[in-house]
């Protein structure tokens, strides 16, 4: 099949059996690749009610048709699994070069099954695939493992590794690759750790066939030209995602002290130009990207290097925990990356603990003697280490995520555990921002921002407006943006540079030989979206409307300070947004997909009972 690696590699870690299967053409036709393959294999193969940390769960790693090709941003790899954090669907998108190497090794998906008795790593060198003993690597940082393996096998090898966090199955453990790119959210690292798989070392020397080489080169070059001609490429590349720190602060979207407010008085020293001047040394990019967003930094204060911090980490481990020194945020970032835990969820848990501590719901005994106060950088570092090692009362408590932690402690702390479906909300405060609110509420992995980023839209249309157009916009974004994950590509080239998305159509056709317009792809996107919804329904008893509710902070607690002081969405408007959403999605009022919608979307084969 043109544009594909051609093989699904199955690794049974229980038996040690490695199986290669040709990538099914029907799956490629209907699910295209990347995230599409992820949900297809998850729904088809992981038994209903499988224990996410048990041998029945699978970790599905997928590249896409644009991965490794002459395509701006062809560097995204999807990691899909049943989430140990939420009990539902998890899909983490990892940049770097791993996805390209998968294509060169002839692989569209790597499916990790079962559980190894002893710690192992997966070694892939073209068709040579082996499980090898990893005891020498256990306890080592994810970045250390990468350095070690590249030294041993060669610089051409691409490495993905878990840290101590994954080994300890912290429920939001991450997977590191390329010195700071992460498969971050939903606990994909915990699943890898539960299978006793420490790392994957990957090398491929093949090439990918395309349907029409001349058309492919022409279309690829046209996309690069469009990116290079974008009038804001220099500004975007200079700052990457950190460009929005100052703006979020200004519009009240910057999480401040566990989302108590959306503007941070100490925020100015976290702004992009300050960060660039103080620590950034290299604009580091993923495979094929003409506008590298990675800000690789040399942090003199701690004598360390780290990729980042990028916006989310600045929000969650900076303003969210009351830190004002960007070097402290960078150090927290490095600790999370090397220990292998998600910076967003870690930041949320730590800021929750700080609020609980300051309110007296957590005592020094609960926090192992650590002064969990906003602004205490040492407390942040100590907490990250304890979480990754599941050490002490604090580590054990916070390693479970903010929903379980607050349920355990009680005392009203649930009211400020900022999560949806058990996934900690990422770094956009949604006080009086109804489009972004419904986006978070309905995101298919829990409270994550990247499916439908709608903050500017809120400002353009009126942030408090509760109108069908906002919901329609969010739905369109949800059908469209994740399609880049399906193609194995980054979406920021379109998102940030504003290039014409129709430029991707001839590229995709020249590579795969299949014509797909964006209208076609949004239909596939809608189908995939509904399949992920179906997955939640079948896995979680009582799943539905109750699981789409936001944290009460966003409809009962107007901020006392900052741009959105005094502003909040009314509780009835939260439900009204949800009603409009279900209606426009073709779902019933309890948030379930009725048979006629399943029929229309050709999803009946995936529904249970």
């Amino acid at each position: 099949m043109n544009g594909y690696g051609g093989t699904i590699l199955r690794v049974n870690l229980t038996t040690g059996t490695i199986t290669r299967q040709p990538t099914p053409e029907a799956v490629a036709r209907d699910f295209i690749g990347g995230r599409g393959f992820g949900i297809y294999f998850l729904t088809s193969e992981v038994p209903v009610h499988a224990d996410p940390l048990g041998p029945e769960n699978k970790l599905i790693i997928s590249s896409g048709p644009l991965s490794g090709m002459l395509a701006p941003g062809g560097g995204k790899c999807d990691w899909t699994t049943k989430s140990p954090l939420t009990g539902g669907y998890a899909s983490a998108s990892m940049g770097g070069h791993f996805t390209a190497e998968m294509k060169y090794a002839g692989l569209d998906s790597i499916i990790l099954e079962g559980k190894s008795e002893k710690p192992v790593y997966l070694f892939i060198d073209d068709k040579k695939v082996e499980l090898r003993g990893a005891s020498a690597y256990m306890g080592k940082g994810a970045i250390d493992v990468e350095v070690s393996m590249k030294k041993q096998f060669g610089e051409e090898f691409q490495i993905a590794a878990i840290g101590v966090g994954g080994e300890n199955q912290v429920l939001y453990a991450s997977i590191n690759h390329d010195y700071g790119r992460e498969a971050g959210r939903g606990g994909v690292g915990a699943v890898m750790g539960s299978k006793n798989l420490k790392a994957i070392a990957l090398h491929g020397t093949g090439s990918v066939t395309v349907a029409n080489k001349d058309a492919y080169v022409k279309a690829g070059k046209a996309l690069y030209k469009a990116c290079k001609d974008a009038d804001n490429i220099a500004e975007w590349t200079r700052y990457g995602t950190t460009i929005v720190v100052s703006w979020c602060d200004e519009v009240g979207a910057l999480p401040t002290r566990n989302f108590q407010a959306g503007s941070f008085e100490g925020g100015k020293t976290l702004y992009a130009p300050v960060m660039r001047e103080q620590i950034v040394i290299t604009d580091k990019g993923c495979f094929g990207c003409p506008c590298p967003c990675g800000k690789y930094s040399n942090v003199k204060k701690y004598k360390t290097e780290v990729e980042g911090p990028e916006y989310e980490t600045i929000g969650m481990l900076g303003s969210g925990v009351g830190l004002t020194d960007i070097s402290d945020v960078a150090q927290a970032n490095l600790l999370c990356d090397d220990l292998g835990i998600d910076t967003i969820s870690a930041g949320s848990c730590i800021s929750w603990a700080m609020e609980a501590f300051e309110k007296g719901a957590l005592t020094l005994e609960d926090t192992d003697g650590i002064e969990m106060r906003f602004g205490n950088a040492e407390a942040v570092f100590a907490a990250i280490k304890k979480i990754a090692h599941r050490e002490g009362k604090l580590g054990q408590l916070l390693s479970e995520g903010v929903k379980r932690a607050s349920a355990k402690i009680g005392k009203g702390t649930e009211k400020y555990a900022i999560h949806i479906k058990g996934m900690e909300q990422s770094a956009y405060a949604t006080h009086n921002a109804t489009a972004m609110l419904i986006s978070y509420m309905t995101c298919d992995v829990g409270a994550h921002h990247n499916r439908a980023w709608a903050i500017t839209y809120d400002l353009q249309v009126g942030r408090d407006k509760v109108v069908p157009e906002k919901v329609a916009r969010v739905i369109w974004l949800q059908n469209f943006r994740p399609m880049f994950d399906v193609l194995g590509s980054c979406r920021l080239q379109w998102v940030e540079l504003g290039i014409d998305r129709d430029l991707y159509v001839p590229l995709l056709e020249a590579i795969t030989g299949v014509h797909r317009s964006w209208e076609d792809m949004e239909k596939t996107g809608e189908r995939i979206w509904n399949l992920t919804r179906l997955y939640w329904s079948r896995e979680i008893e009582g799943f539905g409307r109750d699981w789409d509710q936001p944290s009460p902070r966003f409809y009962t607690e107007p901020p006392a300070t900052g741009t959105t002081a005094g502003q909040i969405t009314k509780p009835e408007d939260v439900q009204k947004l949800l009603d409009m959403y279900y209606e426009q999605r073709g779902w019933d009022s309890t948030g379930h997909i009725p048979p006629e919608t399943l029929e229309r979307l050709n999803l009946k084969e995936f529904s249970v009972h």
């Binding site: 002459l70 080169v217 070059k221 290299t282 604009d283 990207c289």
Partner: protein
Amino acid sequence: MRLYADHSKCSGCNACRVACSLNLFGVSNPKMAALIIEPHFPAPGVYEVKVCTQCGDCAKVCPVDCIQQNDKGAYYVVQEDCIMCGACVPECPEGVMFMRAELVPNTAWECDLCGDCVEVCGTSALWIAEKA
């Protein structure tokens, strides 16, 4: 004329190497490109780029004279004439004279100054100019 690289602008994206392998061999395979991106991570955290300076040292030692110059004055390997003796590889001061039988069984290769790498480099880390 020759290719130049500014390391400080390189992001390690490898788009240049994809474009290069497409030009030389018609496939998307950075390992078959004629320039090198060497990452130095985690410290100091920079990329080093090695490009052909068109010095001609490779051509001087080729026993079958299969490294010729095109109308731009750039050296290139006449692929069908290469006997895979490997004499050229150690001569290259930049390490960008390539022979890897496991990737390309029938020829060595080096930069023919096609310019496609410059075209796709988003950070303007590459450019073509007169030899110094």
